[in-house]
Symmetry: C3
Subunit: 307 residues, 3 copies
């Protein structure tokens, strides 16, 4: 069954066969990135516009590299360069850009639901590159791709997510994706950083890291934003590191083939210790490599759907 969507807004509303289709395509496109000439003409003459209203290096660059390796032309609008500073609404900015006949908008915005709202009002394909605390679907897809690369499967695995789940769009997209694909998701975090109703999403909660680690096939460590301390959700970063930091001592109780993942950028010595981040279980940079492939797959699927 072909991929029929106009947009890629979140993992929550994807069917299992759609996730399968994206991952398979990503695995097959990945090889382009190892060629001497890393470029195919698939999206030649297509116009891709990045609308990034939050700071980003890796996600924007990853999408941009993916687009150019498919031969698309890319353009970038940021909050600081845009007419938003002249009082224009975001929707008016988008409608103006739409009138220039682009094929794909890649949108990152601090307000949850913005890509969805835009997608309903434009014929242009929209990819959500992260909206507020809601979804970050390309991250969850690259995470699932990485797990499958190293484990060969997604179903029946125990995936432990550690950290600030309450504020994490990465966690939310992964929970929806992994449970759909048959993994068991276990969450571990200080109570102040756990969202309510996690159980209704099919997630188990472990109160202590020590209990959860021995059963985990995969440990996803989330970035701890320093602002959580200012918001009084944490006593201190040091306290957090002592109780929830993933370090070598704690990993000594893990399965021998456990995978350590992190969406980056990492805070060395806070949520993850340097020896674990750089150690043999870490697949953090493989996630980045797979990110380009997943984004190529998304651009390919949505760019091809255009008339």
């Amino acid at each position: 069954m072909p991929f029929q969507r106009k947009d890629l807004l979140g993992i929550r509303d994807l069917e299992v066969h759609e996730i399968e289709h994206i991952l398979e395509l990503a695995f097959s496109l990945k090889e382009i990135n190892s060629r001497t000439i890393k470029k195919v003409p698939t999206l030649r003459g297509k116009t891709v516009i990045h609308l990034f209203y939050e700071a980003s290096t890796r996600t924007r660059t990853s999408f941009d590299i993916a687009a150019k390796r498919l031969s698309a032309d890319t353009f970038s609008i940021t909050a600081s360069t845009s007419s938003l500073t002249k009082g224009e609404t975001f929707l008016d900015t988008v409608k103006n850009l739409e009138a220039m006949k682009p094929d794909i908008f890649i949108i990152r915005h601090s307000a949850s639901g913005t890509p969805h709202r835009i997608a309903q009002r434009t014929p242009v394909a929209v990819i959500n590159a992260g909206d507020g605390m809601h979804e970050h679907p390309s991250q969850a897809l690259l995470d699932m791709m990485t797990i499958r690369q190293f484990k060969g499967r997604l179903d029946g695995l125990n995936v432990l997510i550690v950290g600030d789940i309450a504020h994490s769009r990465v966690a939310r997209s992964n929970i929806w994706g992994l449970t759909k694909m048959g993994s068991r998701v276990i969450a571990c975090a200080p109570r102040t950083l756990l969202p309510p109703h996690l159980e209704s999403l099919g997630v188990q909660v472990a109160s202590r890291l020590e209990e959860a680690i021995p059963h985990a096939d995969v440990i996803m460590v989330l970035r701890l934003q320093k602002e959580r301390q200012e918001q009084k959700l944490l006593p201190s970063l040091r306290e957090y590191a002592v109780q929830f930091g993933v370090n070598a001592q704690r990993l000594s109780h893990a399965k021998k083939d456990v995978l350590i993942m992190h969406p980056g950028p990492i805070n060395r010595g806070v949520e993850i210790s340097p020896d674990v981040a750089d150690g043999p279980h870490a697949v953090i940079l493989d996630q980045v490599t797979n990110g380009v492939a997943v984004r190529m797959a998304l651009l390919y699927l949505l760019g091809q759907n255009q008339p």
Copy 2:
């Protein structure tokens, strides 16, 4: 007769046959933007440098999309990234870039006359993308293209320009262009926002919007900069909206096929009401679409002239 200029600096010094030539070329290039592969090799291997010393989304992006759809390579210099912050003069910056052998400079600058001054001192083609309160020729060309698209002609039309004409390079370029092409231009604005000597440009002045609207074939609404209020040129934005805002009630006295235009970005509820901006008479987004085509035409004409 072919187009022979090195630069496109303003509408004031263009001949009627040159404007005709640009508009016809723009209409024929416009179709490229609807293709599956929106790219032609016309300017392959040409180097286009954007020198934007004022904030801009739509104009810079429009030129950039136009250039890349013609296969040019583009580069962008802004005031913040440039050596101006190191005390270099603008002319020295330009001469340095010239030494890198570009084909076209696209210049936006807050000082009126800057593109003209640069054009005299460089063999590189210069396009004025807006200089101070002087000219914005590509905007006037896209406006004329849009009127012709919907009205089939420019001569004999009544074009009403409403708003801050005194500070508007868009108004100035349109007045020169429209009167050359045989339109009658009527201006309506608070006295503090009307430039002196408008009559010598062939423009009639209407003191009240109600008088002027019934005769208009086209109403060009100008953006009201909020700083005009700080400069004490206006009592308040609300007062302005009451007296000069274009809204549905006022439009009820207009011709049935009146066109509503705006160069954007729009201030909803100030110079134009949302129902008019989004209503059936508005061709604001058609202006944006035509902007890409007009800029493709300018880049084509000046890029081809290069040795």
Copy 3:
């Protein structure tokens, strides 16, 4: 003997035959920049990432133009857009980008030695585009190319470097390069702006400009940073101009075919007078033109070495 290096980090560790090889290649690639179609497919499908952690117009644009004229795809990361603001280390940023499979990093950084440190930790080719007060190898190469263009040789020439040698990576790279290639280098500057141990680098020191000018075949004028005055290394810019400014009166005692060079951006009326900067001896803009050719040569050599 072919060029075998993974990186281009500095002039200090280059062999004479390597410098010869780069310059010869640059002379042969230079012609591409005068063609109607200024583009060759040499680096098609290669990914070049600019990592500029200091402001720059000309160097970044020069590298970017060079890369695109060789058909590479380019991406730009700056300190302000990057995750450094999120607390990530520079090395982690680089390792993340490396995972996206680029071919060449072009790095400018305020900390001396940063490109070297990165080059040791990545398989990606690294070009140093200026590190602190250490080296700026592409600048020295374009300077040597320009001297050879006008003088036909480098050996046996007297090259006078005037200005803030202590803080100049341009001077340091040129001293290493020119002495290797057989030029005699003479330095002239206020004592506070002379580094210690210049003689050990094979450089003679002239205390007064008047003594040194008559013997010079080439005068390289360095940019005077205004911050040197704030650091109390200079009484005033005016005083500096009086004693060390290169002006027409002083040049009246120079050889008839002396070359005046400057790495830019120039401070007119401080280290160089306008009549000299724009006069018949100046080859300042030829340096800029050669800069694109030298950078094409470097990208060509390092891009081809990739597997």
